[in-house]
């Protein structure tokens, strides 16, 4: 039973995607990764609207003070085991927004992160590579 769950998780991880104060560039690149040219759906990845259905949380953007508690709440709503991808330099470290008074920094200040994908904005190919790394990690966990 456990192995079936692990197998299905690797074959079809469902992602939830959240913008925590990004400039939209990473958002459109993550969306572009889902559209025909790059097409991460061939790995069985589906975009979901609710945190309760998701295995992987993809976060774009530096965390603003308004969004930080909400990000935490979304993360807590996801069922275990859960994984987080930080897409973009802002999500990784705060990036270009250093010194802005309303920005906390990277998302690892709020929730634990499994895969960091750098880039400003992330290239869809980098998103695919990040996802592939995460799948390898899942394989090990199994």
């Amino acid at each position: 039973m456990v192995s079936i769950i692990g197998w299905s998780r690797i074959r079809s991880p469902w992602i939830l995607y959240m913008c925590t104060g990004a400039c939209n560039a990473c958002d459109i690149e993550v969306l572009a990764a889902l559209t025909p040219r790059f097409d991460v759906e061939r790995f069985g990845i589906l975009l979901k609207g609710s945190p309760r259905h998701a295995d992987v949380l993809v976060v774009t953007g530096a965390v603003t003070r308004q969004v930080a508690p909400r990000l935490k709440r979304i993360y807590e709503q996801m069922p275990n085991p859960k994984f987080v991808i930080a897409a973009g330099t802002c999500a990784t470290s705060g990036g270009v927004y250093w010194g802005c008074y309303n920005v906390l920094g990277g998302i690892d200040k709020v929730i634990p992160v499994d895969v960091y994908i750098p880039g400003c904005p992330v290239h869809p190919q980098a998103v695919i590579q990040g996802v592939a790394k995460l799948l390898a990690k899942l394989q090990e966990a199994k």
Binding site: L16, Y17, M18, C19, T20, G21, A22, C23, N24, A25, C26, D27, I28, E29, L31, A32, T35, P36, R37, K48, G49, S50, P51, G61, A62, T64, Q66, V67, R70, R73, I74, V96, Y97, G99, C100, Y101, N102, V103, C120, P121, H123
Partner: protein, 393 residues
């Protein structure tokens, strides 16, 4: 009779920029709308004051990732005004080209998103596939797909070689053919027409009163376009048509944007034919002299304004930015009144709000003191089912 109140957003600011609309409903009909802004406020205007003039370019580029080119163009022109210099002619033409490429990518992106909001996913996938062609061209010129970092104070950073020129012209031919096809789809496809015609009407006088800008104003038959009214960067030397429609509804906003893509393609062709030779950059001092300047440019979503003040030091003294989406929010509140819950996604999408946040909805039934939460996808599903079962027609 019970009244409902629905806050749309921002608890879950996924996918879209977070702002909240509080809807007051009479049954299914929207009576009143109150917007609440500031969820993705990062403090960029203050951040600009902490950075040097050059670093400011790259921060302004990241205010909005979709229309990043008009932001840097506007900032650079404002600083050049402080220096009181004109950039070389070739740089001005290159700025027009990269601005129009950005407009094409932004409008196609929006067209796809509208298709998604209407539940027409095939359309979304097709449009985004063709949009990749623009991204390739931007990548060819600058090495980055979305944020080209093309503009610099005093000119542009990257030049267009004859080889790139050929590639751009080829790309434009392909895009023109595809965009014409999408226009025929929009004009003939009942799925789109049913959901957009006579929805979200904003008549001409209301658009004037509420200071609507960009495609929203042009869809309400207002002849307003900064490229025409206050030409910057040699736009006055390029002939192009101002697209307006008089239907005033969501359908008109779709048509305005599709036609603008076709206009942009012609502008790019014209620029490439007329492209003057010469330098692409004028070297300027690190800090501009004291003074202030205000510059307007036409971003894909409408008029974008920068006010820059210098006191002769390393950093700007003040940078004030007004983006087109903010200008269009009073208009969208007016548009929503009198329509159904099912029309909310289409109407809000119609102003192209840099994607707005309708990700989660809290419904409160005051009479029964009941609360429930709908996500954006549930709202979309509800709206699709509502129309499938006949809707109000």
């Amino acid at each position: 009779m019970s009244t409902y109140k629905i806050p749309v957003g921002p608890q879950h600011p996924a996918i879209k920029e977070a702002f909240q609309f509080n809807f007051e409903l009479d049954g299914e009909i929207i009576v009143n709308v109150k917007p609440r802004l500031g969820f993705v406020h990062r403090g960029i205007e203050k951040g600009m004051e902490l950075r040097s003039w050059v670093q400011g370019i790259y921060l302004s580029e990241r205010i909005c990732g979709i229309c990043n080119v008009p932001h840097t163009t506007c900032y650079c022109i404002a600083v050049e005004k402080l220096h009181d210099v004109d950039v070389p002619k070739r740089a001005q033409y290159l700025r027009i080209i990269i601005n129009e490429l950005n407009r094409i990518h932004s409008h196609l992106l929006w067209l796809g998103v509208l298709g998604m909001e209407l539940g027409f996913l095939t359309f979304y996938m097709y449009v985004w596939r063709d949009r990749e062609r623009v991204m390739d061209l931007v990548e060819l010129i600058s090495g980055n797909r979305v944020t080209p970092s093309m503009n610099f104070i005093g000119g542009v950073v990257y030049d267009i070689t004859p080889k790139m020129e050929m590639a751009i012209k080829k790309g434009m031919d392909y895009l023109e053919e595809r965009t014409k096809y999408y226009k025929s789809v929009v004009l003939n496809e009942p799925t789109i027409k049913v959901r957009t015609e006579n929805i979200g009407v904003l008549n001409k006088s209301a658009a004037t009163d509420l200071c609507a800008v960009g495609p929203v104003a042009r869809a309400s038959d207002l002849k307003t376009d900064v490229r025409f009214d206050d030409p910057y960067s040699s736009y006055d030397e390029i002939p192009f048509n101002l697209v307006t429609y008089s239907y005033c509804d969501v359908f008109a906003r779709v048509l305005v944007r599709v036609d603008e893509v076709l206009e942009s393609i012609n502008i790019i062709r014209e620029c490439l034919d007329k492209l003057p030779s010469g330098p692409i950059m004028k070297k300027l001092k690190r800090t501009p002299p004291p003074g202030e300047s205000t510059v307007r440019v036409e971003a894909p979503r409408g008029e974008l304004m920068y006010y820059v003040k210098s006191d002769g030091k390393e950093n700007p003294y003040r940078v004030k930015i007004r983006t087109p989406t903010l200008a269009n929010i009073p208009a969208v509140c007016e548009m929503l009144k009198g329509y159904h819950i099912a029309d909310i996604p289409a109407i809000i999408a119609s102003i192209d709000p840099c994607y707005c946040c309708t990700e989660r909805i809290l419904f409160i039934d005051k009479a029964r003191n009941k609360r429930w939460i709908w996500s954006h996808s549930q709202l979309r599903k509800y709206s699709l089912e509502w129309y499938e079962n006949g809707g109000r027609r």
